[in-house]
């Protein structure tokens, strides 16, 4: 009896360990697999050429990723520039100023929308943002824009990541102990001063973590961007021009992947690039957070 129980315990322990090691191993498996797949093109063209040239003629064997990389960076940059301040202002208002009723209503709406799939945001973007840019905004700045543009992609992405950022930020801000706020107020600080000097400062690590997650999400988003970015392989000259980020490149061309030489390797290189940048970014931000934590404790 006892023997069979101990045996079960041992089996369970091994199973749990195996599952854990396997789950950790996924990360390395994904990285390794994509790296191996993209190795042929890296060896043939050289990493530097791939990253810095922007000629893209798969049939002639030209694979330059520069415009895709820049498109990705533009789109992500615009999304964060729009989303972060709005999310910060909103979540501070909801946590610090709004009544409990509004807090409850707002947090359920945010939770709801954080779960809405990217493709829905894409549909919405094509129906509203794209025509709006084409008809109402772009004419003030450029001669012509279809609306499928860097700006459209950035705005749709921003709206997509806003619920995500807000739901994390609300948690972060409400984790600041009440006593800390009261201590500041009792020293004669106004509400706003308390928010600025105590709440926000105390929440910096959380804000960074939320931003990192939002950037990761925006950086690799595929369908929502693909539907509104225009998919045009040239360096965008203004935010009203079409662009072509890396995830969209992969998604649009996987069909021909097997029929053109080196195409598979090129697209897998794009996937590896996304993977590598995200991992690097996450690890670095983690190190930064650890440093901040240390400084806070001192």
């Amino acid at each position: 009896m006892l023997k069979s129980r101990l045996l079960k315990d041992r089996i369970a322990r091994h199973y749990m360990l195996t599952a854990t090691v396997m789950a950790i191993f996924f990360l390395f498996l994904i990285g390794g697999g994509l790296f191996l797949k993209s190795l042929p093109i890296m060896q043939e063209k050289g990493l530097w050429t791939l990253l810095t040239t922007s000629n893209w003629r798969p049939f002639k064997g030209d694979f330059g990723f520069a415009s895709y990389i820049l498109s990705t960076l533009y789109v992500t940059g615009i999304a964060i520039i729009i989303a972060l301040p709005l999310s910060l202002l909103t979540s501070i208002y909801i946590i610090e100023y709004a009544s409990p009723k509004i807090l409850r209503a707002f947090s359920s709406v945010v939770d709801l929308l954080a779960g809405i799939p990217p493709v829905i945001y894409g549909v919405w973007g094509t129906l509203t943002i794209v025509p709006f840019i084409s008809k109402s905004i772009a004419p003030h700045f450029v001669e012509f824009s279809t609306g499928y543009s860097v700006l459209a992609a950035g705005v749709v992405l921003a709206i997509m990541i806003i619920p995500l950022i807000i739901s994390i930020l609300m948690e972060v801000f409400s984790a600041v102990p009440k006593e800390m706020r009261e201590a500041s107020m009792s020293l004669g600080a106004t509400k706003w001063q308390t928010v600025k000097k105590v709440v926000i400062r105390k929440s910096i690590p959380g804000v960074i973590a939320a931003t990192v997650l939002a950037i990761s999400r925006a950086f690799g988003e595929t369908l929502a961007v693909l539907m509104v970015c225009g998919n045009f392989t040239d360096l965008p000259k203004s935010i009203f021009d079409a662009c072509y980020p890396l995830p969209a490149l992969i998604a649009n061309n996987y069909g021909e992947m097997m029929s053109v030489p080196q195409y598979e390797s090129a697209l897998m290189f794009a996937a590896f690039l996304l993977f590598f940048i995200i991992v690097l970014f996450n690890v670095i931000s983690r190190l930064v957070l650890i440093q901040i934590d240390k400084r806070y404790q001192l």
Partner: protein, 279 residues
């Protein structure tokens, strides 16, 4: 293997256990737990220093002392609850029934089955009342609805909870009051047929009536079990203890019968503590 299955159904309260002459004097003790040179370090701090004590069976031993003196640490070392904590280092020997429980070969579930622990706050498991009571017996291999029901009824009667819960045995245990839950936890502990009941300030979170009920239960069950209680109220120790251990700053200052320790303390510190000099 057999040691678990056979006696389970028949033992509780029905078999007349042979009486030891424990209460007559301090010489005829029948040792149940023997602690030899026990030292415990937590994160490098010396929490327990050279503890030597012998806890007699079929009696109530209370461990008293100011908070932070190490009494809970000592109690938890009896059923090896420190095992999962990397910060705790234990040196010394601890014998239960003459068997050293801190050897590598000792199977920890076997040790723990011998001892029921009653924590400060009752902790009901996330299941029904009856499943709580028979959780232990089930683990140790008892099968059959009737058998399990009988065990549950028996133990719930023993802790005086039967009449209160017999109509709702299938409801979640978390619906009981704190006092009821603590009695449920005692029933659950008794159901694994332990020899020893450990109580870690088991009444401190309870209302006065529940706390009195639990106290009386301890007195009732001491014919069959060795009861070791950590208590922070001197009065409780005076009411129910047969033996008392007084600890201070990680050391065992004095150990003796309740009468000895409360009426004729040998040590100056003990004298001061029991007269309320410090707490």
């Amino acid at each position: 293997m057999e040691l678990i299955t056979a006696p389970l159904i028949t033992v509780p309260l029905t078999i007349e256990q042979p009486k030891f002459k424990v209460m007559n004097g301090s010489h005829s003790l029948n040792p149940h737990i023997v602690v030899e040179n026990l030292n415990i370090f937590i994160k490098g701090n010396h929490i327990l220093k050279d503890i030597n004590m012998t806890i007699p069976d079929k009696s109530i031993t209370c461990i008293i002392g100011p908070s932070g003196c190490g009494k809970t640490t000592l109690l938890r070392s009896f059923n090896r609850l420190h095992d999962d904590n990397v910060d705790v280092k234990i040196k010394g020997k601890l014998f239960v029934d003459g068997e050293d429980i801190y050897t590598k070969d000792t199977e920890v579930t076997h040790i723990r089955k011998k001892m029921g622990l009653l924590a400060q706050r009752p902790c009901s498991l996330p299941m029904s009342i009856i499943d709580n009571v028979v959780y232990g017996p089930r683990l140790h291999g008892v099968r059959g609805r009737r058998k399990l029901y009988e065990i549950a009824r028996h133990q719930l009667v023993a802790v005086g909870l039967w009449d209160e819960v017999k109509d709702r045995l299938k409801t979640p245990a978390s619906t009981l009051s704190i006092g009821q839950q603590q009695r449920l936890c005692l029933a659950r502990g008794l159901a694994v047929e332990p020899e020893i009941i450990l109580g870690d300030e088991a009444t401190s979170a309870l209302d006065p009536i529940s706390s009195k009920t639990i106290e009386e239960l301890f007195v009732t069950i001491k014919d069959k079990y060795t009861v070791v209680l950590v208590t922070h109220t001197l009065r409780q120790a005076k009411r129910i203890a047969d033996y008392v251990a007084f600890m201070y700053m990680g050391e065992l200052v004095e150990f003796g019968t309740a009468d000895q320790l409360f009426n004729h303390p040998k040590n100056q510190l003990t004298k001061e503590y029991i007269s309320g000099g410090f707490s």
